[in-house]
């Protein structure tokens, strides 16, 4: 069923009793051309683009939980492409371009809202860094504007411009950045993929990877039985190391917990996404009115989807330093998600040393904004066997060759990226 004004009016006249489930539940087939492990945003997007761009429709997406229950429903919904390095900018810009046409493409309202992303700077050195980043973006055709203090004040008068230690000196604005309703992205991709014949299989956990005599991955052992596959793609960020270990692989990844927070619903106060430059803190306001914010990783390896109090305190302190009015809002809820923290802070979309097994991993805490391009490029890799041109830097062997993509320059210490 195509969603439109006509379908909405027709359904209202029938008291909304004729809506069908957004995606089909079909029996599991014994063999697929491609199996994507992980029914998060990246896995569903991969399946959708495999069917749409490459005409491969014998595709299954296996999800151990339910669609929208993992990191795609646990992030802070921000999209942007304000990166510095050549390996990253074209990829994230392609992602932003796909976001701009996503709702028409999927025929699904994902509430894509390009309300702008503003990174504050607080001193001359940070201003130089912001100008350099803005220039790097503009060289790649990405929008970036360097704002001075007065321009920031006009946009966001509620910030603490006269903080004794970190006065705001200006900001780098990406007007095309913004927010997207995250679970609608999962539902929209699942629905569009299902309509093209992809089997979206929930409640199906992979427990083993079967390999033939030559070592190639040929099938998956799952909680719903053995399923054969021509090619297998892993898109299980957070648990990449655990699933890859089933094929005997060790990855340049540690799993860490990142917390996020939502306040009670308020009237519109924050125009876009604003990030603090003197600590790690970012905030936006959902269309429902809640202030959505977060900051640093907890900083220790974790597979628990919850964090600890010192990080809560640290995030709230940073928020108060940037926007003192925040102290009047009550935090409604907080949660944690498990991040694939890679050793250089950048993702991996590549073939693995195991024939037939492909890897999409290491998204750190920047996976949500990458969803469309990640799916696009991973589908390209799975269909053609070659890296897509905007994702060709995301090689698994870059840690051995030295071609790292280290935006923050922190070295092989994942909790610092």
């Amino acid at each position: 069923m195509r969603y439109s004004w006509a379908s909405l009016i027709a359904q209202s006249l029938r008291k909304h009793r004729g809506w069908k489930p957004a995606w089909a539940t079909r029996p599991v087939k014994p063999h697929y051309d491609v199996i994507v492990v992980g029914g998060g945003g990246h896995g569903l997007a991969t399946a959708y683009y495999l069917a749409r761009n490459h005409g491969i429709s014998r595709v299954a997406v296996l999800e151990k939980g339910w669609i929208g229950g993992g990191n795609v429903g646990r992030n802070t919904t921000i999209i942007r492409s304000n990166y510095l390095l050549d390996g990253n900018i074209p990829f994230y810009e392609w992602s932003l371009k796909l976001w701009e046409g996503l709702e028409q493409d999927l025929n699904y309202n994902a509430m894509v809202s390009q309300r702008g992303v503003l990174n504050l700077y607080h001193n001359d050195a940070q201003r130089d860094a912001a100008a350099r980043r803005g220039n790097a973006m503009r060289f790649h055709g990405v929008d970036a504007e360097l704002l001075d203090r007065d321009q920031v004040r006009r946009m966001a008068p509620f910030l603490d411009f006269d903080d004794a230690r970190f006065p705001i000196a200006g900001g780098l604005l990406q007007p095309r950045g913004g927010t997207v309703r995250h679970d609608a992205v999962a539902w929209g991709y699942a629905r569009a993929a299902s309509a093209l014949g992809v089997d979206v299989i929930q409640g199906c956990e992979v427990i083993g990877i079967e390999r033939d005599a030559a070592g190639a991955a040929t099938a998956l052992e799952t909680t719903r039985g053995r399923i054969g596959a021509g090619r297998i793609g892993l898109a299980v960020a957070g648990n990449s190391s655990r699933v890859a270990a089933m094929a005997g692989l060790r990855l340049p990844i540690e799993s860490h917990v990142l917390q996020a927070f939502v306040s009670e619903g308020l009237k519109p106060v924050i125009p876009g996404v604003i990030t603090f430059g003197a600590g790690h803190f970012y905030i936006s306001q959902s269309d429902k009115g809640g202030l959505v914010f977060g900051g640093n990783l907890d900083g220790y390896n974790s597979y628990a989807q919850r964090g600890h109090m010192p990080t809560v305190e640290d995030v709230c302190e940073s928020g108060m330093a940037m926007m003192p009015a925040l102290g009047r809002a009550r935090v409604l809820r907080s949660w944690g998600g498990i991040m694939d923290m890679s050793m250089d802070g950048s993702p991996i979309i590549d073939a693995t040393p195991v024939p037939g097994l492909y890897l999409n991993a290491g998204w750190c805490y920047g996976g949500f904004k990458a969803t469309p391009a990640s799916g696009w490029c991973f589908a390209h890799l799975l269909a053609t066997g070659a890296s897509h041109e905007v994702a060709c830097a995301y090689r698994l062997d870059r840690f051995a060759t030295g071609a790292l993509i280290n935006e923050k320059g922190e070295g092989a210490q994942p909790n610092l990226h």
């Binding site: 270990a245 990855l251 340049p252 540690e254 010192p310």
Partner: protein
């Protein structure tokens, strides 16, 4: 989480700095593959692991802490130097 420091007693994790998994050991011979493994590859286990924490705002000793990465339960904490000496014997 609270870590029971053998010198200072039970302290909040806010006093500590995290180094990470204690399993990788620096290769003693100049072997490229071994160094790549040491610097970049991790087992990333879900469950109990040994890891290095530095008691920065306390006794300034490196500790080897056994902690569960799924439940965050801490089982033990000993001086990393003591452990290294014992292992060297």
């Amino acid at each position: 989480m609270r870590i029971h420091c053998p010198f200072c007693g039970s302290r909040d994790t806010g006093e500590f700095t995290y180094r990470g998994d204690a399993a990788p050991t620096r290769p003693t011979v100049p072997d490229e593959a071994a160094f790549i493994d040491y610097a970049y590859l991790r087992d990333n286990i879900a469950g109990p692991i040994d890891e290095h924490w530095y008691h920065l705002h306390g006794c300034r000793q490196w500790l080897t802490v056994r902690r569960d990465t799924v439940t965050h339960e801490i089982f033990s904490a000993v001086f990393a130097a003591t452990l290294a000496t014992e292992e060297a014997r």
